[in-house]
Symmetry: C2
Subunit: 364 residues, 2 copies
């Protein structure tokens, strides 16, 4: 890979998405550009962004691509589909036109996914995108995919999510041959619901249509999410989202319970004072901000979705993740993994999906 | 309710189910009988149980119903269906014949559910049972149903799980009008997968077929499981099992991380010594043992499934839960909630389920 700022990918940043937009988003984008040498393109209403940029003393540094419309944090998929002049839609269009390599947004997940599905080119043989998140297990991390992009996938799509997750783990986590597990109930192959029983068969079978082989390690259960036993955990977007939010909620619950246990008696209060630093380090390690956000994979361009409550630090991490995925050519890697000849030989439902996408394309 | 030991329900205890069977199971059953005045019937091979009972000095106190076959902890649904002389099958038959009011087992969940579905009479209009667990939220607890009995339910079944959960919350938690939430992704009615979108419509509609109305509070997300915002959370058995195991795994993970954070430095180690008691109290509160196990509801008799690693204390709690559900006439309460006229007017899939159950019955 050639070095120097000229070789750095351009990242389109939706300056209006997020609870603290545009101030924290602009500050984070600036930090990414100054500290990580990432080229940033901000999308949003220039009249709102100019004063924020000026206040940061970055008038000459940050480029703005005008987008007059803003999708609210309480808006969902419909807004993403229908609002072509929104800051998230314009960011996706920059990628589609080749002016940016990836998108970063801290806006409403539903609106981002819908906007990206409509505006980024679909990849051959990937009818639905998957949302990949990195779980802070250790010693090594685990990728969970899909964490909420596709609620009702077909079993074949879970195999593709496995391929997306492997490409992601290779580039973002540097794991050469990631082990893939299937999230289900019960460890044996016959366990689970109809979707996962069929997906297990497909994951355990020889790869189809010229796809690269997966290192399939079998079923994993909810209790294994934080165990670090596999590198990629595959699931449907409904189960993945419930599991991710359960995980976050449980850790929050356990921390709050411990805090009250730790301050319950006088001796415990003295102890708590002595331990503040250890607890702070832990909570920063568990903090989603550190992990740079979720990556929407399987489209002709990557979108990194940062937490809605992202501060400048989180936005800068998300930009760094987006740049690293773009540098690793994740889209090409996914194409290669899924298999180039896939579309021609794709099963009926894949062809139908593809036709629908083309129709949507024509209607635009 | 009449007082005194004569009025106490008889509980059939599967003496051979569980990692520490039969020793801990027999000890727990004895404790339930001695301390809570519960009448216990043990099922298992008399030659194996007699020495255990004698060692506890309870030869005259504990009754044994012979069951020569034992289902292993690593066996699943097939063993539950096919082994009519196993200790779990005999326990279910005692309830079916009216000789016991409920079953307690710490055996393999898959085998227990399959055995109970085959051997306990089905309730009219409840084609599938649901597994209810109590989550240790506070100030009040929350019932999660289904935690793993039915992996692919129809939307109508989620409404019935709501009714089962309400009956359970009324009897076991003493909540007069439990609020019911639907576990899904996204708070708005249109969010979720196909199953939960339809279930939301049914839960929000007027009750059908003479069922009692539910106090439906709308969608809840994974992060709300431990928030205590609703009294009953309804979900399919696949999602419920993944969520429950994710919750347990996350709390274990957070506790282990905290323990290592708390012992990382010398000052923190001193602090940890001062706090041991607080941590111990917390971990006992979070310990599943305290909550007496999961209840399989929706059949003509209740089965309380204790954790596989149950010790005597956990088995005794499970017996107390089973007795309390039997005293509250949970099966009658469920019949009343679901509606007596339900079967005649039941949709096609319910009638088909019922016919299959009858065929299975004839084949036996």
């Amino acid at each position: 890979m050639p070095a120097g700022p000229a070789a750095e990918p351009v990242i389109a940043v939706d300056a209006m998405g997020g609870d603290y937009a545009p101030d924290e988003i602009v500050a984070g984008a600036l930090a990414a550009q100054r500290e990580h040498g990432i080229n940033v393109l901000l999308t949003g209403p220039p009249a709102r962004l100019r004063p924020v940029i000026a206040k940061l003393g970055a008038g000459a540094e940050l480029r703005v691509v005008p987008a007059e419309d803003v999708v609210g944090m309480d808006e969902g998929a419909l807004a993403g589909f229908r609002r072509p002049r929104s800051s998230i839609a314009v960011a996706c269009q920059l990628v589609r036109r080749g002016q940016a390599a990836a998108v970063v947004s801290a806006g409403s997940t539903g609106a981002i996914v819908a906007s990206a599905r409509q505006r980024l080119l679909p990849l051959p043989a990937v009818p639905r995108p998957g949302l990949a998140v990195v779980l802070p297990t250790h010693p090594s991390h685990t990728v969970l995919i899909d964490a909420g992009a596709t609620a009702d996938p077909k079993p074949e799509m879970l195999v593709q999510f496995g391929q997306l997750g492997v490409a992601y783990a290779q580039i973002a986590l540097g794991i050469a041959t990631p082990k893939v597990g299937l999230l289900t109930i019960g460890a044996e192959p016959g366990k689970g619901n109809m979707l996962t029983r069929r997906a297990h068969e497909l994951l355990a079978a020889e790869p189809q249509h010229g796809a690269l082989p997966l290192s399939f390690a079998g079923n994993v259960e909810g209790g294994d999410l934080m165990a670090g036993a596999v590198d990629v955990i595959v699931t449907d977007g409904f189960t993945g989202n419930v599991a991710l939010k359960t995980l976050e909620g449980s850790i929050r619950f356990a921390a709050a319970e411990l805090r009250s246990a730790l301050t319950g008696t006088r001796a415990a209060r003295v102890g708590a004072l002595l331990q503040r630093r250890g607890l702070r380090e832990l909570s920063s390690r568990l903090d989603a901000e550190t992990y740079g956000g979720a990556a929407l994979l399987g489209l002709g361009g990557t979108v990194v979705i940062a937490h809605g409550a992202s501060t400048a630090h989180a936005v800068s991490s998300a930009c760094a993740l987006a740049a690293s995925l773009a540098r690793g050519d994740i889209t090409d890697k996914i194409r290669e993994r899924i298999g180039v000849a896939a579309e021609r030989r794709a099963p009926h439902f894949l062809r139908r999906e593809r036709e629908r996408d083309r129709e949507r394309e024509r209607d635009r």
